[in-house]
């Protein structure tokens, strides 16, 4: 009878263990969450750059108006300039074009990616980051170890509690059997938990694919706009450098010395290098998004050792994260 009981328990345990679903390795999930965080940081900073470059371009434009015209707002030349601009750009009224020869303090920035567009994309990156962080916490092996240990403790407590009520002959049989049952219950609880977590991860696969497609399309648009804004900034800067360096006979408002022009040029070079790094920060960012998707899918694979995609994701995000200090610098 006792032998049959032992065999029955052993078979039950084997059945549970055999059908066991493993949580993804907590170390790998945490690595994934950390890489998502870094990827989000670069994305967020690159979107913020759009606002910064718009402000700087607006400032350069205002400075140009100031140094070329001494701040004059509505003389005949300015009106002529506004008309000329309006003639060239369809849909632009002479009135709005006349802003081109006025400046305000603080200067108006050039148009930028709208707040709503910026915030929604930041929210999406943050939502993915939040999911990855929750995944890191959920995959904590310690929590499963704790529940298994609690079941074992309960089993031991039960065994101790009922021992005085049983006949002496039953004691050596019940104690190990209780341990086995407790262990199998603990495994079953852990298994059910792992199944639930993997189900959530599987449910996240499709949204993650959609998010990657949308974020990649956004990256294309934002990068293009950042690069255009950087070109616009260069145009404003070159116009200003030209005004500063203009020979006295070419225009009656020029009054800089050669050394002042040289200093202005050196400053412009330094600013341009800094802005260029930021403007192209999203180059190749599509690889980060693609590798994030592959790494997530890899976490769901039964092969616990698979980590190629995760390793690649970590590497590309580390490469991008190296840009972070430059991107943060104003």
């Amino acid at each position: 009878m006792v032998a049959w009981l032992r065999i029955g328990v052993a078979v039950s345990v084997a059945a549970v263990v055999g059908a066991c679903a493993h949580l993804p390795s907590d170390a790998k999930v945490k690595q994934f969450a950390s890489a998502v965080d870094k990827a989000a940081a670069v994305y967020i900073q690159s979107i913020s750059f759009n606002r910064d470059i718009s402000e700087k371009t607006g400032e350069e434009n205002a400075a140009g108006v100031y140094i070329a015209r001494g701040g004059a707002a509505d003389d005949a030349e300015c009106i002529a300039l506004a008309k000329r601009t309006a003639q060239i750009l369809v849909g632009m009224s002479a009135q709005s074009a006349s802003k081109a020869c006025k400046y305000s303090l603080p200067p108006e920035s050039t148009k930028q990616i709208s707040d709503e567009n910026r915030k929604l994309r930041l929210s999406l990156m943050n939502a993915i980051g939040g999911y990855a962080k929750a995944l890191g916490e959920a995959a904590d092996k310690g929590a499963i170890d704790n529940v298994e240990a609690a079941v074992m403790t309960l089993g031991a407590a039960t065994s101790t509690a009922v021992t005085p009520l049983l006949a002496g002959a039953a004691i050596p049989v019940l104690s190990p059997a209780t341990k086995i049952v407790a262990r199998s219950v603990g495994l079953a609880v852990g298994n059910a938990y792992a199944v639930e977590i993997r189900q959530v991860m599987a449910q996240a696969e499709e949204p993650l694919k959609k998010a990657v497609i949308l974020l990649k399309a956004s990256v294309v648009e934002i990068r293009k706009n950042n690069e255009r804004k950087f070109r616009d900034w260069r145009i404003q800067k070159k116009a200003n450098l030209g005004i500063i360096a203009a020979k006295p006979d070419s225009d009656d408002l020029s009054r800089s010395t050669t050394s002042e022009a040289y200093v202005a040029f050196r400053v412009a070079v330094s600013e341009a290098r800094d802005l260029q790094t930021k403007a192209v920060a999203l180059d190749g960012y599509e690889n980060v998004l693609d590798s994030m998707l592959k790494a997530h899918a890899e976490l769901l694979e039964p092969d616990a050792d698979a980590s190629d995609a995760l390793a690649k994701f970590t590497k590309v995000t580390d490469d991008f994260a190296a840009l972070a200090p430059t991107l943060q610098k104003k």
């Binding site: 718009s54 371009t57 140009g64 070329a68 015209r69 000329r84 601009t85 003639q87 060239i88 750009l89 369809v90 849909g91 081109a100 050039t110 930028q112 990616i113 709208s114 567009n117 929604l120 994309r121 939502a127 939040g130 999911y131 962080k133 929750a134 916490e137 959920a138 929590a143 704790n146 529940v147 609690a150 079941v151 309960l154 031991a156 407590a157 039960t158 101790t160 509690a161 009922v162 021992t163 009520l165 959530v200 449910q203 996240a204 949204p207 959609k210 998010a211 648009e221 293009k224 706009n225 255009r228 804004k229 616009d232 145009i235 116009a239 200003n240 030209g242 005004i243 203009a246 070419s250």
Partner: protein
């Protein structure tokens, strides 16, 4: 240069025009008013191009809003599952303590009387 309708320009047209302006604006032979004119033109094209970029991004927004909610839900699912596991562990430990106390009581009650 004829009139430019920015709304009808392709991306490559916009870039080509800005590139042309960038080349021109650096010319030392220009008068300051021409520099300001070119700078204003570039700013206006940049502004209109940004309007177009915003319009393109606007189209994606409804889908992005849905995804934000979706990831929020998945995060909650994970958190709830984890919280339940932790609560189960705590309940088991508490129950074990109760059973141990009960066992001690039974032990006392069933101990042979001297």
């Amino acid at each position: 240069m004829g009139p430019i309708d920015v709304d009808k320009l392709s991306d490559s047209d916009i870039d080509a025009i800005l590139e042309l302006i960038e080349d021109l604006v650096g010319n030392p032979a220009l008068l300051n008013r021409d520099r300001i004119f070119l700078a204003a033109l570039a700013k206006a094209i940049d502004d209109r191009a940004t309007d177009l970029a915003n319009a393109t991004l606007d189209e994606q927004n409804p889908a992005i809003k849905e995804l934000i909610k979706e990831f929020g839900d998945r995060k909650d699912d994970l958190k709830n599952a984890h919280d339940r596991l932790v609560a189960t562990t705590a309940a088991l430990n508490q129950f074990a303590q109760g059973v141990t106390a009960f066992g001690k009581l039974i032990g006392v009650l069933t101990a042979p009387k001297k």
